[in-house]
Symmetry: C2
Subunit: 322 residues, 2 copies
């Protein structure tokens, strides 16, 4: 089994809740020296004078055991006195911030304002929360996902949280991406000779993974890296377990199917992981190029997360030998 091979090195690309589930599984199978997690920051935004990084926070909370198991984001054992008070003051309350969660945003925002990088702040927060696996933002520069809608461009969190994904998504922009530098450890990992696999976690391809792929050089590095790139489909049985991925696909005229996800990543893929529900799609995906693993990708329990982590690692070993 792969976890016995201490020299193996893996890189995981993740968005929020779905990605964090597989990332948690991977941390149970791999040592902190074997795994690096690169997190989307296109969802980040400035709100109430604070810099909020939803995907990074979901990773931090999930891996530290602080996450709210009901929502997948935010904290368990949370209070909402701040929001009630803010509402009474007429403040912006469309984005829920729990009292304990707020401490993270306040501490991060003041450190960023004092000149620290997002990586430095993230590393500090991870350390304080007892997260030992390296987690880093895809970039320390500011990249912001914008959703093109019939009424014009909408900042991502306005689309996602404030407007509850109601507007039609015509397309996406990743403002700042073309001038952003990928996190140095991200670039280094992609150019390393000892990388064993790259996993694209089951995150939204359009707004969680594409911002990462939009950074200068990343597609090229992925294309030339010898380690297999494996994506886990976030679309299962024609719908997304969470979030607007399926709705977006329909609105952009794509078949709402795991096949469309594989098509979306195209020639970058060496392997693709289909849920057992979608076993019938195996041939269609193979026809696009990648090898296919069919397994259970619905991660309800911690065991499911660990099982899928073991599956994708084993799949990557098979692809390496092929």
């Amino acid at each position: 089994m792969s976890d016995a091979s201490e020299n193996k090195r893996y890189l995981a690309l993740s968005g929020g809740v779905g990605g964090a589930k597989l990332a948690l599984g991977l941390t149970h199978v791999l040592s902190p020296e074997q795994l690096q997690i690169v997190v989307n920051t296109g969802d980040d935004f400035e709100h109430l004078g604070l810099t909020i990084c939803p995907d990074l926070d979901t990773l931090l909370y999930t891996l530290s055991g602080l996450a709210n198991p009901k929502t997948g984001w935010g904290r368990a054992s949370e209070t909402n006195t701040f929001m009630k008070s803010l509402e009474a003051l007429g403040g912006d309350t469309w984005f829920f911030l729990g009292d304990g969660d707020l401490a993270l945003h306040v501490e991060r925002s003041q450190r960023l304002r004092a000149g620290q990088t997002l990586s430095e702040v993230t590393a500090m927060l991870a350390k304080k929360l007892g997260v030992t696996v390296p987690i880093f933002p895809m970039t320390d520069d500011i990249v912001r996902t914008v959703v093109d809608t019939p009424d014009g461009p909408l900042p991502f969190q306005h689309y996602f949280v404030r407007d509850q994904c109601a507007p039609t998504a015509l397309g996406f922009q990743f403002t700042g991406a073309e001038d952003a530098s990928p996190h140095p450890e991200f670039s280094a990992a992609l150019q390393a000779s000892n990388l064993d696999a790259i996993f694209i976690c089951p995150s939204n391809p359009f707004v969680s993974v594409d911002p990462i792929l939009a950074l200068p050089g990343i597609r090229e590095f992925l294309g030339t890296q010898h380690a297999p790139l494996i994506a886990v489909s976030p679309i299962i049985g024609g719908s997304a377990l969470k979030g607007p991925a399926a709705k977006m696909m329909a609105e952009m005229g794509l078949d709402v199917s795991a096949v469309s996800v594989a098509q979306h990543y195209g020639t970058l893929l060496d392997g693709f992981v289909l849920d057992q529900t979608d076993a019938a799609l195996e041939a269609d995906v193979r026809a696009l190029g990648p090898e296919v693993l069919v397994t259970n990708t619905v991660m309800t329990s911690l065991d499911d997360r660990i099982k899928l982590a073991r599956d994708v690692i084993e799949f990557s070993e098979m692809l390496q030998k092929a």
Copy 2:
């Protein structure tokens, strides 16, 4: 009784907890058209990336009925999830910020950053909290009280909260005061012909009232205004009910006595209010110039606050006729 005289106009100068008690009493006796409250901002500071205005907040909470009756500052029905979370992240926890209180600081800070004045923000907060009497900061400019200690200058909240007033106070500086503009309504009130009295609430003379008096023109306006200026002693029976006023007096070589307070305000005073405990000091204060009212100034109940408010208003009417 004075509250029947609708044309009367009063101005109260206030620091935090002690001042807010008398201010609350005044709001029960006077209409919002009859009273203006000018609040010290020398205690304000920047903390965790937020602008915190302790005296303004104490006034807002006291007058809106939200104040914590045990402390006199902060909110009743408060939770502390933020602080516990911040502590776990290694943040600065020496200044307690309740979860509900935090909303006020976050909302204010983002509005200030967006270019609103402290007055505008204070007026908005007061309106939202249902406070109808006009409360304004002594200035919209930044004035910061600094305590001179044997180990050098200390920002006020570091002295007051972080170091629990332990350092010896050698003197005080009000950074920015000489270049600050008094709030326009404050200046206007002091130059108005229909002002009936100015009350200096029982606040710390050195760090709550002196910053107000240090603003350009204020001492001159007070000296030329025909309305009587009346100070209520915060020193009762040789000690302060709250805060470091008595300790400061001792450290600066002053007698710890209400007489020293009267001496401190000097020729500005037309009237001085002594607690009944200090009735024996009446002659000493009179010898300094002002008329003296001896009454109960210990405000335990709301009735005490209202009673003292009526007393000082009546005293001012007597001084006007004199």
